[in-house]
């Protein structure tokens, strides 16, 4: 077959081009691209703030000492239940422990659980959806019925059933939350896979002789990755909420450990007198989830639409 590669002379790159129809748009230079990114961000201060919040939370999760050098479990009893001040940004709790330090150190446990939950949902749900969407027929039918059933049990109850079976603890809570959102991932992944599998360009690839599994790898996966990634980021926010709910109900790490949800549960007893015990960890959760959702929205085509 190599003869066809050299059958004709070198390609004529410009001579045969008749006028206007081949005028190509000029590709942007690196400088222009940088300028475009800056302008995009400049118009979206909210997105910039969201990215900074997520960055801070990540630092808190991996190097809590950098943001709050103190020990989260040691307090000065004389300083108990102090409102927020310069010395204690988020105030102190009933044992005189610094709430800010506890929130920062709590990020690690809460985020760990969230990451595990999203990973479980993404991997299991993604694979199920890919299988259903790509193989089709009875495999699709069977898997989607299972998904329907999972969706018909409210997520938090499914998580509670799993916790009943598995027991308490951060990791178990994480798995319970992850399993409960497998179904929605499977659904999105299936829909994306089907959409792309039936797209004209995949048929075109098949029509030029590309094998089925090659189209899966080269066309379906790369094109489905985007929407699924957006969902994963969105799910990250939901998982933070779900994990903190279960932790609030008392199914997470045992007491001295600072989890975001259990911090609020502790503060609940002092609600009438010390508002900051609940408000501050809650605001931290809200800020994190809001930021994650904002980033998810930006990923969901805002950039490509802005061009």
């Amino acid at each position: 077959m190599t003869e066809l590669l050299i059958r004709e002379g070198p390609p004529d790159s410009s001579g045969t081009a008749p006028g206007s129809s081949v005028a190509l748009p000029i590709p942007p230079t690196r400088r222009e691209r940088l300028h475009r990114v800056l302008r995009f961000l400049g118009r979206r201060p909210g997105l910039v703030v969201a990215s900074l919040v997520v960055l801070l939370v990540l630092v808190a999760a991996f190097a809590p000492g950098a943001l709050a050098p103190g020990d989260p479990n040691v307090g000065v009893v004389a300083d108990k239940l102090r409102p927020p001040s310069a010395a204690h940004l988020f105030g102190t709790d009933y044992l005189g422990r610094d709430v800010y330090t506890r929130v920062v150190h709590g990020a690690s446990l809460s985020l760990q659980a969230t990451v595990i939950a999203v990973a479980v949902a993404l991997v299991v749900g993604g694979l199920l959806g890919l299988l259903a969407g790509f193989v089709g027929r009875w495999v699709d039918e069977a898997l989607m019925r299972v998904v329907d059933v999972l969706l018909s049990i409210p997520a938090i109850l499914l998580s509670l059933a799993l916790i009943t079976a598995l027991g308490y603890g951060t990791i178990k809570v994480a798995i319970a939350v992850g399993v409960a959102s497998v179904a929605s991932f499977a659904r999105v992944m299936r829909a994306e896979t089907m959409r792309i599998r039936r797209s004209t360009y995949v048929e075109a690839a098949r029509a030029v002789g590309t094998r089925r599994y090659v189209t899966l790898w080269r066309h379906v996966l790369p094109n489905a990755a985007g929407p699924v990634l957006v969902l994963a980021v969105l799910e990250f926010g939901l998982a933070i909420l779900a994990v903190s709910s279960l932790s609030f109900l008392g199914y997470g790490a045992p007491p001295p450990a600072p989890e975001w949800g259990s911090l609020i549960a502790e503060g609940r007893n002092y609600l009438a007198t010390s508002w900051w015990l609940c408000a501050m960890p809650g605001l931290t959760i809200a800020a994190t989830v809001l930021s994650v959702n904002r980033i998810s929205r930006a990923l969901d085509g805002e950039w490509s639409r802005a061009r």
């Binding site: 190599t2 070198p10 081009a17 004209t200 690839a205 029509a207 590309t210």
Partner: protein, 544 residues
């Protein structure tokens, strides 16, 4: 005669992310009472924006930035640009009627059509609830809808596209406006339906002396229907004048290319000389039949016979065109020939070998020799691929050559379709429709096939770009002795490119004849009807 619409120095702009687009620049035009003025232009020329500005329905990010629009008429003259939203409401529907572009999506799907027609009368206080219902039936009858009483009680999804367009016409004429704006009123319909509906609209209009502003991309339609033509390009009006003058003696260079490219208007092209038959045909199809199962109705499962006992041959180096309206089975036939779908009955031979049931390896081998160019170049190219990846995909699939050789071959192929080699690094989204279709052709040629099936390859493109792509296809055929199976609904395009033409209707091949013979001496009534519906033809014959 008095003028009913006077647009002068109109500027319309759109606010978009990070900028501003000038869609219409300094446009001026006049429509006199009872007159039909066509605004012709390609996509992006600003013709639709102009229409939207006149009826006050610009999208939220669009605004009139200068100039004036005066709506006249026997009674009084209104400056539309100065009207409040509320005051404009009394104008829309009452003094200006709109026939929208796509009838399949322009009616409220959850409301009975009679109610939708009656609504115009009720908003403008021309009828109460009960009389609106009666008048709606009357209007539907006037719009040429059979059984108007029954139709009035039906939902849009129970009507065909052509019937829905008649409902929309009934809505437009209901309040007897002095001006109707028709925005590409029939481009979503089949040619024969299109012709009947436009004829009917013409008759209604002539009866009441209503003026019409006809927005169209098709110079042929404009030539057939309009008294005067306004040509738009890049937001400006480049030329304006009576139809005959514009067609016979276009002054602006852009109008000249448009007139030259409009397939129905120019003199019939010189018949293409078919290649000398040499050896056996590349494709032999006999008794080809395809059934699709229908959804179960009343407990019985019916089948839809999409292709019914179709037989034809394609010689090497020949272009065989299959024409027909939507649902005629022409695209299904093409997919069967390529074995992208399985036939129910019949036989397909490719270069002598029976491929009717080939599977697996042999099916894949067929891909080397028979290729497909799709209708929509926006959908048939993976948006994540670079052009080089697109063009070399067939080579990779069959493991042809080393990466370096493939790159060289890709450069050669894009050169063959008259694109510069620098295009290889681009992604499809960065290219225009015509450029993308060239890329799709280059991909089809990568394995040097014997047969290329072109499924409506130019119908998604602007007319001037269509002409270029057709010329390219002809040139490639001459160079490489390709055979084409060319699927199209557009007879003017087919006349230009095909050696032989087959007319399909409801799955059957009615007649298959050399192109010139078919066009000059059609045997079937249906073929005659199709030929009669070619836009621009009426004008061409009158002039002759």
């Amino acid at each position: 005669m008095n003028s009913i619409l006077e647009v002068s120095g109109l500027d319309v702009g759109y606010r978009i992310a990070g900028g501003h687009i000038h869609a219409v620049r300094g446009a001026s035009l006049t429509v006199r009472e009872g007159e039909v003025v066509a605004v012709v232009g390609e996509s992006g020329s600003g013709k639709s924006t102009l229409a939207q500005a006149v009826i006050g329905l610009l999208p939220g990010n669009g605004a009139i930035e200068g100039g004036s629009i005066r709506l006249g008429g026997s009674a009084d003259t209104t400056e539309l640009t100065a009207l409040s939203e509320k005051a404009f409401r009394a104008v829309r529907g009452r003094r200006i009627g709109l026939v929208p572009q796509d009838p399949t999506v322009s009616l409220n799907p959850v409301q009975r059509v009679g109610v939708q027609v009656g609504e115009v009368l009720r908003v403008h206080g021309l009828a109460d609830k009960r009389s609106a219902r009666l008048k709606a039936v009357e209007l539907l009858a006037r719009a040429g809808l059979p059984d108007p009483e029954v139709r009035a009680g039906q939902y849009p999804h129970e009507l065909s596209g052509g019937m829905r367009q008649r409902v929309l016409i009934a809505i437009a004429i209901a309040a007897r406006p002095g001006l109707i704006i028709a925005d590409e009123p029939t481009s979503a319909l089949d040619a024969t339906v299109q012709r009947r509906i436009l004829d009917h609209l013409d008759a209604l209009r002539a009866e009441t002396g209503t003026a019409m502003l006809l927005i169209t991309h098709d110079l042929g339609v404009a030539a057939d229907r309009a008294d005067r033509v306004v040509v738009m390009s890049g937001g400006r009006i480049v030329e304006e004048g009576p139809v005959d003058r514009i067609l016979a003696d276009p002054a602006d260079p852009y109008t000249r290319t448009l007139v030259a490219a409009a397939p129905g208007l120019s003199a019939p092209p010189a018949p293409r000389i078919p290649p000398q038959p040499s050896g056996r045909p590349i494709v032999q199809v006999s008794g080809l039949t395809k059934d699709f199962p229908l959804p179960r109705l009343q407990g019985r499962r019916g089948v839809l016979r999409a292709v019914d006992e179709v037989s034809f041959d394609i010689a090497r180096g020949e272009t065989l065109a299959l024409v027909g309206e939507s649902g005629s089975g022409k695209s299904t036939t093409a997919r069967l020939v390529l074995r992208l779908a399985d036939p129910t009955a019949g036989e397909i031979r490719f270069d002598g070998a029976d491929i009717t049931r080939v599977k697996g390896r042999n099916w894949r081998e067929l891909r080397r020799r028979a290729q497909l160019v799709y209708q929509n170049p926006y959908a048939s190219l993976d948006p994540r691929f670079s052009v080089e990846e697109v063009v070399t995909e067939p080579l990779r699939a069959f493991g042809v050559g080393s990466p370096a050789e493939r790159r060289a071959r890709a450069a050669e192929l894009v050169g063959r379709v008259a694109l510069p080699a620098s295009v290889l690094a681009r992604r499809p989204v960065e290219l225009s429709g015509g450029q993308r279709q060239r890329i799709a052709v280059a991909r089809a040629l990568a394995l040097s096939p014997d047969l290329v099936v072109c499924d409506e390859p130019v119908s998604a493109l602007d007319v001037s770009v269509q002409a270029q792509v057709l010329a390219l296809l002809e040139e490639l055929q001459t160079d490489q002795g390709l055979a084409y199976l060319f699927i199209s609904h557009d007879l003017a395009v087919v006349r230009r490119i095909a050696h032989r033409v087959g007319v399909m209707r409801e799955g059957r091949l009615l007649e298959l004849r050399p192109t010139e013979e078919l066009f000059t001496d059609p045997r079937e009534d249906y073929t005659r009807e199709l030929l009669g519906a070619i836009a621009g033809r009426r004008h061409a014959t009158e002039a002759a």
